[in-house]
């Protein structure tokens, strides 16, 4: 792959991430039985992605922050021995409602893209 193609790929991946990352973060916090802090969330994302996550861990934090500001997540701060106090996030009721909407939007988009790629919806 030459440099220009590599750049195009990274740009495409970045644009894909900008929508899916919020969905993934909401889903992780929805499934979790307990509040999670930034590092745990980042870790679980990286661990589940085969052959290296295409998203830099540091870019997750501003997304968590903005979702908290929009009322999708709640948080509390607890002291830690390893560094600064940790911010533990939980999903709010509004976050669950939004997640349900996003899930169906995602399913629709994914099916449509798959169908187009496989040439099943040619008229």
């Amino acid at each position: 792959m030459d440099v220009a193609d590599e750049l195009m790929l990274r740009k495409f991946q970045k644009e894909l991430n900008s929508g899916t990352v919020s969905l993934i973060l909401l889903a992780i916090l929805d499934r979790s039985q307990e509040p999670l802090y930034g590092y745990q969330i980042a870790k679980s994302i990286e661990g589940n992605w085969q052959q290296g996550a295409p998203v830099k861990q540091g870019t997750l934090y501003p997304v968590l922050r903005s979702m908290e500001e929009s009322g999708l997540l709640g948080s509390r701060v607890e002291p830690s021995v390893a560094g600064p106090p940790r911010k533990y996030y939980t999903i709010t009721d509004r976050g669950r409602a939004v997640l349900a909407d996003w899930k169906s939007a995602w399913a629709t988009t994914r099916d449509y893209v798959d169908m187009t790629l496989e040439g099943r919806n040619d008229a």
């Binding site: 802090y37 830099k56 870019t59 501003p62 922050r65 903005s66 929009s70 390893a82 560094g83 600064p84």
Partner: protein
């Protein structure tokens, strides 16, 4: 690529130079949380640190992500400006202040500042004198630490109040200081050497005279406005002159009543404008003292 957490945080600050200091503080806080957790989990070796930094992303990448999110979030959360405030008609602009949340927020902040001012002043004076007085005894050390911790907590809380009522963007995380070692002792030492701790205390001391002034100004201005408005009504209900000077009572003629009503209403609008102006200035002042306007570059 930076090799230590401290170097990384310094580079992140540089990459965010020029951004809102409150945003810089939040970004550095997040990065430190991740890097220290990741490094600690993998044994704290230099390799573990390098790996954590690699996974987190380059300072330039992360700075771009924060700037991008801040831009979209502020765009989405910004309250639409009241239509009257955009009007070019000076009368509409002047009277539109009554629908301006910033003016009412500032008014409320000025009333609240008497309470918070007394509280902050008491905390600082008590904390400083207790710490200084007990310093020769061993108990002075925990007292001083407790005091500094309280000052930092209050600084964050006051920031939330200022952002909520005065609309000035303030940090949403406690302040992080870049320290040579991540131990508790290094952290505590850094609290003392951080000049922001001392400007915060100064701010808390100044809040007493400021709070008294703000409260007095708002209460006086509102009282004068309400009294002017109510004067003809009281005179009519009580059926006796309200203005009394040297034993002489002065009656307001019926044709004069509308002037008093108009004057009283004008007073309320002027008070709102005054509150809005003072609120804006105080927001800037709080930011300089608690966060620092000119921070953000490499320190």
């Amino acid at each position: 690529m930076p090799e230590t957490i401290e170097a990384y945080l310094a580079e992140l600050r540089t990459a965010l130079a020029g951004a809102d200091p409150a945003l810089v503080q939040d970004a550095v806080y997040d990065a430190e949380e991740y890097l220290r957790s990741a490094a600690a989990e993998n044994g704290g070796t230099p390799e573990a640190v390098a790996e954590a930094i690699d996974a987190y992303g380059t300072p330039a990448e992360i700075a771009a992500a924060y700037r991008e999110t801040e831009r979209t979030v502020t765009a989405a959360l910004r309250r639409p400006a009241a239509p009257s405030s955009k009007s070019t008609n000076p009368f509409a602009r002047f009277f539109g202040v009554v629908a301006d949340p910033a003016a009412w927020g500032a008014l409320f902040y000025m009333l609240l500042s008497l309470l918070t001012g007394v509280l902050y002043f008491t905390v600082v004076v008590t904390g400083l004198s207790l710490s200084a007085g007990l310093f020769i005894l061993i108990i002075g050390v925990p007292v001083a630490l407790l005091f500094i911790g309280a000052v930092r907590a209050i600084s964050l809380a006051e920031g939330r109040i200022v952002e909520g009522l005065l609309g000035q963007r303030m940090p949403r995380r406690p302040r992080t200081v870049v320290v040579a070692d991540g131990t508790i002792w290094g952290r505590l030492k850094s609290w003392f050497s951080d000049y922001r701790t001392w400007t915060t205390m100064l701010y808390m001391l100044l809040m007493l005279p400021l709070g008294i002034t703000y409260f007095t100004v708002v209460v006086s201005a509102l009282a004068v406005s309400v009294a002017t408005f109510a004067l003809p009504i009281v005179q009519w209900v009580a059926n006796s002159p309200v203005i009394r000077i040297n034993g002489w009572g002065y009656l307001v003629e019926p044709w004069g009543a509308p002037f008093f009503f108009a004057g009283g209403l004008l007073g309320v609008f002027l008070t709102l404008w005054l509150a809005k102006g003072i609120g804006y200035l105080h927001g800037l002042f709080a930011k300089v003292m608690l966060v620092g306007r000119f921070e953000g570059g490499a320190q």
